[in-house]
Symmetry: C2
Subunit: 333 residues, 2 copies
């Protein structure tokens, strides 16, 4: 892979730059995932960890640490920590209640069962806490523990807010921080901390992760309703069918007339959906400019992410993070 190839996607360029570090992260992950006593654990986690996601969270830790001049060993531990937390969260997200299980999602639950997903997730959480203790930095521990609490709180909030038409954009942001942005923010922040970056740099890294995560989620929301361009995402309509109150819908609900309120009440709050409802939802979203407004929000968050990096030193990795923020919203430009 050629690092100088500007046609590469930003996360591929990050991956290439950080490859030696990421190799060490992967070795550490496999090492700490192992369990002498309970071989089921690597069975379940390999399914997720080896699946090879974009590894964006560990790369944020590594990039932040490296651009701030870190050359110690512990950015690797912290990168593995955030990947463990992320993997544990995925396992626990896969736990379904009875009704969802009937829909037969191809989750870890179908390969094992709810109880394995829960307990192996707990094991990964416990392992992540062991890892985060190792650098011996109380400030880092604070950040990661607080992120864990924000994640869990956001997940619970989502349970209750998901189908509640009274959900505001403020609540939406809290949920998104729990789902995505809190771990992005903590990853970038602890990377800076371990490198003894200045407080302004650490705060900038945190804001970058937070804003990037929020932009990322809003783009996801938009693509699920087909995006603003003609390109239709392959998952179009999943959020609608799963009755998720995403940002475009929240904006449209706030502007709804009586008919539309009844429509959202029936389809989202009550889950009574029929043929043609998704198209009608898309029409309503377009009519109120809800898609355009959410698009503007995503772009503003991406801009905020980029300018948050202003206090950071000039560095290839910094440029890649700037490009990454642009790339996240490029699909809805």
């Amino acid at each position: 892979m050629d690092v100088d190839d500007v046609s590469q996607k930003p996360h591929d360029r990050l991956g290439a730059w950080l490859a030696p570090d990421m190799d060490r992260v992967n070795v550490l992950i496999r090492d700490r995932m192992a369990s002498r006593h309970a071989p089921r654990i690597p069975e379940v986690t390999a399914h997720l960890v080896e699946a090879g996601g974009k590894r964006l969270r560990p790369m944020l830790v590594l990039a932040a640490a490296r651009m701030c001049g870190y050359d110690g060993p512990f950015h690797v531990h912290l990168a593995a920590t955030v990947e463990f937390i992320h993997t544990a969260t995925l396992l626990h997200d896969d736990v379904v209640d009875e009704s969802a299980q009937r829909r037969g999602r191809p989750t870890a639950n179908l390969l094992w069962d709810n109880k394995s997903s829960v307990l192996v997730g707990d094991y990964l959480f416990a392992r992540s806490f062991q890892l985060m203790v190792e650098p011996g930095r109380m400030d880092v521990l604070d950040v990661l523990c607080n992120a864990s609490a924000t994640i869990a709180e956001g997940e619970v909030l989502q349970l209750t807010a998901a189908q509640d038409l009274a959900t505001t954009e403020e609540i939406y942001l809290q949920v998104v921080r729990g789902k995505t942005a809190a771990l992005f923010a903590a990853a970038a922040e602890v990377g800076g901390m371990i490198a003894d970056a200045t407080p302004a740099q650490v705060a900038g890294l945190r804001d970058y992760g937070d804003a990037l995560g929020i932009a990322f989620q809003i783009v996801d929301d938009l693509l699920d309703y087909g995006g603003v361009a003609e390109t239709i995402g392959k998952n179009t309509g999943d959020d609608f069918r799963e009755r998720k109150l995403t940002l475009p819908v929240i904006k449209a609900v706030a502007l709804a007339d009586a008919d539309e309120t009844a429509f959202w009440q029936r389809t989202i709050a009550e889950g009574d959906q029929a043929e043609g409802d998704l198209s009608r939802a898309q029409e309503i979203l377009a009519r109120h400019g809800a898609m355009e407004a959410a698009r503007a929000d995503a772009i503003a968050w991406a801009e905020r992410a980029k300018s948050a990096l202003d206090p950071l030193p000039a560095h290839d990795l910094r440029d890649m993070l700037v490009d990454l923020a642009d790339y996240v919203v490029a699909r809805i430009r």
Copy 2:
């Protein structure tokens, strides 16, 4: 409650001695359980935390700290930490797979759902880690993080070992440490640590908690098959019906002839149980002296718990912990 009333049970006497501390623990638990954003959290946890269990784990922290002369504030944080870990574990234990759900246990799942149990449990774990960071003691963090990993590993191990007739006493002990003893041991150990007890005292406290937890679990196993005396526990047969390989059964399986092996294979490994099987299991356990042998083990662990306290200073609380170890096995004497 009269502290001098020797007829009181040891944990009631501990509770009376530690009442002012326990009041502070309860205030802290309620405070940290609260969630501004997700009111479902205290709803779910109050169900467990307010139910008023024996609070043995936080009392072990407090008793260890106090008998070692601690007069700072952080034993309260650590006591709340272990109660949060315990409560989170209970919530996650309540998550059932589909087959178990059909049996309709009256768990938190019936009041809410699997997903709430998982996510609120995660929130309590995250809160417990925030709490354990606050004293600023890396050694305490190590102990509690390691205990969390042992608990999770033991729970996963139990999933796979539960109905496997090849389960050895060694694996049984690992499972029991995960289920009970690891948190008892960590609770007592961090109580000593926060009080800057000597290494020998800290090790003694740890061994006490470990041995007490193991004795506790073996007694539970025995009572579930009716105990060794005539007293029949009200839960008699639950472990058999749930096909748990408890210590008496493991001992009997090791000594089984071909007929008996076929019996255990059918009833435990395959779960094909009929009228009269429980009585036959009890007969087999008695024939091989499996109940007596497990009883001897429990008593030996209780003795080990008591002598582990030898390095600790003379103190009312130490005497109560000694009495507690005797009390745990008194029901099978």
